[in-house]
C-alpha cells in the first residue's frame, strides 16, 4: 500500500469506527439480545468498535500514520 493510500485508510477507518459509535446507527445496536460473550449486545457493540479503533491506532503508529518521515 502506498503511503498516501495507507494514510487515507487510517483516517477513514477511525472515522468509520466513530460513526458506528456516535451516530444514530448506535440505536440499531441498542438491544440486550443477542448476548455475545456474556455481554448485552450494546455493551458488546461499543467494545467491538472501541477495540477496532484501538487496533487501527496501533497499526497507524507502527506505520507512522502513513507518513514517510514523521517529525520527531
Amino acid at each position: 500500500m502506498s503511503n498516501k493510500k495507507s494514510k487515507m485508510f487510517f483516517h477513514v477507518a477511525v472515522i468509520f469506527g466513530l460513526i458506528m459509535l456516535e451516530t444514530p446507527i448506535v440505536l440499531m445496536a441498542n438491544n440486550i439480545e443477542p448476548v455475545i460473550f456474556g455481554m448485552p449486545f450494546l455493551v458488546f457493540w461499543v467494545l467491538f468498535w472501541w477495540f477496532f479503533c484501538t487496533i487501527i491506532f496501533l497499526i497507524a503508529y507502527m506505520k507512522k500514520w502513513g507518513k514517510k518521515n514523521s517529525i520527531r
Binding site: 441498542n30 448476548v35 456474556g38 461499543v46 500514520w65
Partner: protein
C-alpha cells in the same frame, strides 16, 4: 481505620518526595517551570496527559452515571478514541508551531495566529474561568474520597486542605516536571485500581458474566439507552462524547502538555494509548451494575464507588482504590492549577503588566498565582456543592468552544479574528444562557455546549468570510510553517532545511 489513614498518609507523602526530586532536576528557568523546556520524555508525557484527562469526573462520575442512568456512559469508549485522535491531529501541529514560534499558552498560539489582542484576552479568559468549576469538582471529589478512606477520621474540610497543601508544595518547587512525575504514580494507581476493583466487586454476584445475566433478568432497563428513567438517550450519548473530548482537549492543562512534549513521535502513539486505557471504564460498569443488584438506593450517586468499595473490599485494598480515586482528582487539579497560573502569568501579567519581567520574576508570580487560585477553589469546594458530572459538563462546554478557532487556525487560512471572536462569544454565550437561565431547555435534549459549538462554527465561518482576511504577512508566516510541517511529515523536504529546524 488506621490502615486507611496510613495509606492516605503515604499517598500524600510520596508525591511530595517525588516533587522535590523533580525540583532538583530543574534548571530554574521559567520555561522549565511552565513547559519543562519542551523536553518532557514520552513516558511522563503519556502519564501526565492520561492522568490529567482522567479526573474525578471519570472516576466518580462514571459510576454515578452507570448506577442511575443506564449505559449512556459507555460513550466514554468513543470519547477516548475521539480525544486520542484529535490529540494526534491538532496536538502535533500545535506542538510543532509552539516549538517554532515559542508558544507557552493557548492564547500565545491564538493571539499570534489571529493577530489580535482581543482574541488573546478572550481565549485567556475562557480557559481561566471555565477551569475553575472543573477544578472545584476535582477538589470536592478528591477530598470526599480521602474522608471516606480514612473512615471519617479526616473530615472533608481538612481532607481538602491536605489535598491542596500537598499539591501546592510540589507544584511550587517543581513546576510541570513535578506534576508529570507525580502523575506517573497517580496514573498507575488509578488505571489498575478501577479495573481491579471492578473485577473484584463483580465477584459478589459471581463474576462479570453472571452480573450481566442477573441484570438482564432483574433490571433490563439499565442495559439499553435511554436507561431506567428514560432520560439518558442518544442526545446525551453524543453530547457527552463530543463535549467531554473537546472540552478536555482544549483545557489549558492539555495545551501545555502539547507544547511540553520532546519527541513528536509521541503524538503518533498517543491515540493508541489513550484508546487503550479506556478499558478501565469496564471497571466502572462492573462496580456500578453490581451496585444496582446488591445495593440499590444509594442516594448521592457520586458515593456509589466509595460505598461499594468500603462494603465489599478488604480494608487496605479498598483504601488503596479510594486513594486511586483521589489520585484521579489530584492528577487533574495539580495540572489545572499549574496551567491556569501559567496563563495568568504569561498572558495577563507579563503581556499587560510587566512585559520586561525577568525570568525569575515570572516563575515567582506564577507560584503566587498558584497559591491564590488554589485558595479560591478551596472555598468554592467547601461552600458551593453540586453533582460532579453536571458541573463537569459546564466546564467542558466552555473550553470546548476553543476547538473551532483552533481547527480554523490549523486548516483554514481564510479564518480571521472577527470570525474567531464572534464565534467564541456566540458559542460561549449560548452555552451559558441555555445552562443557567431557568426554564430554558436546550432543544432536542442536546447539551447546551452542542448548540454553542454549532453557533460558534456558523458565526466563525460566516463572519470570517464577510470581513477582511488577516494581514498578509501573518497568513504567509503560518502558511509556510504549516506547509513545512506537512513537507517534513511527508519526507519531501530537503535534508538541510530539516536540519535547520
Amino acid at each position: 481505620m488506621s490502615a486507611g489513614v496510613f495509606i492516605i498518609f503515604l499517598f500524600l507523602f510520596i508525591p511530595l518526595v517525588v516533587g522535590f526530586i523533580a525540583a532538583a532536576k530543574s534548571n530554574k528557568s521559567s520555561s522549565d517551570f511552565f513547559i519543562q523546556g519542551r523536553n518532557m520524555g514520552s513516558v511522563a508525557a503519556f502519564f501526565t496527559v492520561a492522568a490529567t484527562w482522567w479526573s474525578s469526573f471519570a472516576f466518580l462520575g462514571s459510576n454515578a452515571s452507570f448506577y442511575t442512568e443506564g449505559p449512556v456512559y459507555l460513550t466514554a469508549f468513543a470519547w477516548n478514541i475521539l480525544f486520542g485522535y484529535l490529540y494526534y491531529i491538532v496536538g502535533k501541529r500545535v506542538w510543532y508551531l509552539g516549538k517554532k514560534f515559542d508558544y507557552v499558552t493557548p492564547s500565545d498560539f491564538m493571539g499570534d495566529f489571529y493577530d489580535n489582542e482581543k482574541v488573546r484576552i478572550i481565549v485567556g479568559a475562557v480557559v481561566t474561568i471555565f477551569t475553575i468549576p472543573y477544578l472545584q469538582i476535582q477538589l470536592t471529589g478528591g477530598a470526599y474520597l480521602i474522608e471516606v478512606a480514612s473512615g471519617g477520621v479526616i473530615p472533608f474540610w481538612l481532607a481538602a486542605f491536605l489535598f491542596y497543601a500537598v499539591i501546592i508544595v510540589y507544584v511550587w518547587v517543581g513546576g510541570i516536571r513535578a506534576i508529570a512525575w507525580t502523575d506517573i504514580i497517580y496514573g498507575a494507581i488509578l488505571f489498575f485500581g478501577l479495573l481491579l476493583s471492578g473485577v473484584y466487586i463483580s465477584n459478589v454476584v459471581g463474576g462479570p458474566i453472571s452480573m450481566f445475566s442477573e441484570m438482564q433478568r432483574l433490571h433490563p432497563e439499565f442495559l439499553t439507552l435511554p436507561g431506567p428513567d428514560g432520560a439518558a438517550g442518544f442526545s446525551s450519548w453524543i453530547s457527552l462524547c463530543i463535549v467531554t473530548a473537546l472540552g478536555a482537549l482544549m483545557g489549558p492543562q492539555l495545551w501545555l502538555r502539547m507544547y511540553a512534549v520532546k519527541d513528536g513521535n509521541l503524538f503518533n502513539l498517543m491515540p493508541f494509548l489513550i484508546a487503550l486505557v479506556a478499558v478501565t471504564y469496564l471497571g466502572s460498569v462492573l462496580i456500578s451494575w453490581t451496585g444496582v443488584l446488591e445495593m440499590p438506593g444509594i442516594e448521592n450517586a457520586d458515593q456509589v464507588l466509595p460505598v461499594m468499595v468500603t462494603e465489599y473490599m478488604p480494608l487496605a485494598l479498598g483504601a488503596l482504590i479510594l486513594a486511586g480515586g483521589a489520585a484521579a482528582a489530584m492528577s487533574t487539579s495539580n495540572s489545572q492549577i499549574h496551567a491556569v497560573s501559567t496563563v495568568i502569568t504569561k498572558d495577563f501579567y507579563q503581556r499587560y503588566n510587566n512585559p520586561k519581567a525577568s525570568d525569575k520574576k515570572l516563575t515567582k508570580v506564577s507560584r503566587y498565582a498558584i497559591l491564590i487560585f488554589s485558595i479560591i477553589a478551596y472555598f468554592m469546594a467547601i461552600f458551593v456543592p453540586g453533582v460532579l458530572v453536571t458541573i463537569g459538563l459546564v466546564a467542558f462546554g466552555g473550553t470546548a468552544q476553543l476547538i473551532v478557532p483552533t481547527i480554523g487556525a490549523l486548516f483554514w487560512s481564510r479564518s480571521n479574528a472577527n470570525g474567531a471572536i464572534s464565534g467564541l462569544v456566540g458559542g460561549v454565550g449560548i452555552t451559558v444562557i441555555l445552562t443557567f437561565i431557568p426554564g430554558l431547555n436546550s432543544p432536542l435534549g442536546l447539551d447546551p455546549a452542542m448548540w454553542g459549538l454549532a453557533l460558534n462554527m456558523i458565526l466563525f465561518v460566516a463572519v470570517s468570510l464577510v470581513t477582511a482576511p488577516r494581514n498578509e504577512k501573518v497568513i504567509e508566516k503560518f502558511d509556510s510553517a504549516l506547509k513545512s510541517f506537512k513537507n517534513q511529515e511527508e519526507g519531501t523536504l530537503e535534508a538541510n532545511e530539516e536540519k535547520a529546524l
